[in-house]
């Protein structure tokens, strides 16, 4: 666990980040395994129409809730649709639902955090109280309330999960920005009359990026799990979208007669979240060895 470069403060060129990540993956087998899972999943999502043998929406009442067999490796669901096919297509949704809100949350949270930490004073106070409000909510409950307002759809899930997620990033980035704003080079920039917006973009932001990348990777699995939970409660994606959480709802009803319907999507979610978590641990060790837990 040697410090591979920097934890905060020093302005390193962009390729430094990539090299650090590559080095860490070479050394860390778990992270490499996580990366492999994520890449496989990405390939599955992109190639879904090519590799999956059936149509994810094709209903076949002659094969309702059939047990796993040679023709249907994971069996069929309550409408006779091939479960494996639907799960492969579901990878598209889960990846999108993991990555899109994570990126939006980093952008919004990063902006709020930098502005708050850099300016301090009244702006900081107001922005941080807003952050407190979001953080004080049990996250799933807030996401549920937003889904209640907006209605269940994939787009609304993006909105709800981003809304829930930005605040924790804002907190972390704010404290970083707060320590950066006292640095000599920031003071130097200010003394020669560089505008605040430019200082924040050129001098504060680059030093927050490594931390934000770590937060981004580590938050992806939590969004995937939250989507699964929301869809499972009927407040996320709507049928017939092949969302993993949505497929699993039926599993609850068919627990006695066709347990594979509930269990298979969970395995996919578990493996995906594990993959991202392993990968995220690797990114964290590479970019920010001081950040743990």
């Amino acid at each position: 666990m040697e410090n591979t470069g920097f934890s905060n403060g020093e302005n390193l060129p962009q390729q430094g980040i990539l090299r650090d990540i590559a080095d860490a993956y070479r050394k860390n087998r778990m992270a490499a395994a996580g990366l492999t899972i994520v890449l496989l999943l990405l390939a599955g999502a992109l190639l879904a129409p090519v590799i999956s043998p059936y149509d994810p929406y094709a209903i076949d009442f002659s094969k309702v809730a059939a047990a796993p067999s040679k023709a249907h490796w994971l069996g069929t669901d309550e409408l006779g649709r091939d479960l494996l096919t639907r799960l492969i297509y579901g990878a598209r949704i889960s990846l999108a639902i993991g990555v899109v809100p994570a990126v939006i949350a980093q952008i919004v949270g990063g902006a709020v955090g930098i502005i708050s930490g850099y300016f301090g004073g009244r702006i900081d106070y107001i922005l941080m109280r807003l952050t407190d409000v979001v953080l004080a909510f049990p996250s799933l409950l807030l996401a549920m309330a937003i889904m209640y307002t907006l209605g269940g759809s994939l787009m609304n899930l993006f909105i709800a999960l981003s809304f829930v997620g930005w605040a924790s990033t804002a907190r972390v980035v704010r404290s970083l920005a707060l320590s950066l704003r006292g640095k000599e080079y920031v003071e130097a920039a200010r003394s020669i009359g560089v505008r605040n917006a430019v200082i924040m973009a050129r001098h504060i932001l680059p030093n927050c990026v490594p931390t934000m990348i770590v937060l981004l990777t580590l938050s992806i699995p939590s969004y995937i799990l939250q989507e699964a939970g929301l869809s499972f409660l009927g407040m996320g994606a709507q049928p017939p979208t092949p969302s993993w959480g949505l497929i699993a709802i039926k599993g609850k009803e068919y627990l006695l007669s066709a347990p594979w319907i509930g269990i298979a999507p969970g395995v996919f979610i578990l493996i995906t979240a594990l993959g991202f978590n392993f990968m995220g641990d690797g990114v964290r060790d590479a970019l920010d060895p001081t950040m743990k837990g």
């Binding site: 004080a136 549920m144 937003i146 269990i263 969970g266």
Partner: protein, 308 residues
């Protein structure tokens, strides 16, 4: 300390107002009339108007919000459209069930998570470490509902030793507590591990080793206390994730707690009930955070809250 706690409690008032405003406006921009929900088979338009006026639904939003705030400050969270009882009473009745579930899960997560993290940290990168951390990460990565389904199927259906769902005896509590506690034990184990590793690098540990103290003594006497500090604070902050997890767990196992109320509220467009549960959940999270800070100060002599 007393003044500090009082100050912290007072400082939550603006947060609560913010939270209540957020919930109130989220709920009220929804099209769909609560009166129509209440009186599904009741179509006389005059009567609907009368009920709406009685419930003050015709007033402008800020007026209604002000009324809601005033009532909430008096402990009156309104009247559930669906359950047709005061929300405060409903929450008070449901809370002990959630508290029981969450407490059982939290205890489980500490009993499993702390020793697991400790064993991992004492022999980093050993087989035991990898196995335990794999188990922890699985706990963190596992969808709650899935763990519930798998355990229900294994213990309820195949083995038939525990009830599949329901609430009442201690037997009903085992599966939900394991489901909810597993994920939490994963994060506690990971945190304990990194925290112990952190402390083991410090100078005073080197001193302890240099004076000839055995590894066991180093960990037990010197490392453990300091490394558990962040873990204890995480325990208090767990409230938020336990509550989120309880929503799903209660739904799968049919436990009549706060989480189930939230789902009932959403499925029936029951605004006062959702508002009430959300506000109540938030208060619990804030209390958890304050507890964490107070514990931290009480346990770490380096941290003192300045009196002003």
């Amino acid at each position: 300390m007393g003044r500090y706690i009082l100050g912290r409690l007072l400082s939550t008032v603006p947060i609560l107002i913010g939270v209540s405003a957020l919930i109130f406006f989220l709920m009220n921009v929804v099209p769909g009339d609560p009166v129509a929900v209440m009186q599904k088979d009741f179509i006389d338009p005059d009567a609907l108007e009368r009920v709406r006026a009685e419930m003050h639904l015709d007033d402008p939003l800020p007026v209604r919000y002000a009324r809601f705030l005033r009532d909430a400050a008096h402990g009156n969270l309104g009247y559930s459209y669906k359950l047709k009882r005061p929300v405060t009473g409903i929450i008070v009745a449901a809370f002990p069930n959630t508290l029981l579930l969450a407490t059982a899960a939290a205890l489980l997560s500490w009993i499993v998570g702390i020793p697991a993290g400790l064993i991992s940290a004492v022999r980093p990168n050993s087989l035991a470490d990898n196995a335990l951390m794999g188990f922890s990460l699985t706990g963190v990565s596992m969808p709650t509902f899935w763990a519930a389904l798998v355990l229900q199927y294994t213990f309820g259906v195949v083995l038939g030793v525990l009830p599949v769902a329901g609430f009442g005896s201690w037997k009903h509590l085992i599966l939900p507590a394991v489901v909810l506690g597993w994920g939490a034990s994963g994060s506690i184990a990971r945190l304990t591990r990194s925290s112990v590793l952190e402390v083991m690098r410090l100078d005073y540990i080197r001193t302890a080793r240099a004076k000839g103290l055995g590894e066991r003594g180093v960990v037990r006497v010197h490392a453990l206390k300091n490394s558990l500090l962040p873990v204890i604070t995480i325990m208090a902050i767990q409230v938020s994730s336990l509550l989120s997890g309880a929503i799903v767990t209660e739904s799968v196992f049919g436990i009549p707690g706060i989480g189930r109320l939230a789902i009932t509220a959403i499925n029936n467009r029951d605004m006062p009930l959702l508002q009430g549960t959300a506000l109540f959940g938030t208060i619990l999270v804030i209390l958890g955070n304050i507890t964490a800070d107070v514990l931290y100060a009480a346990l770490d002599p380096r941290i003192k809250y300045v009196k002003d």
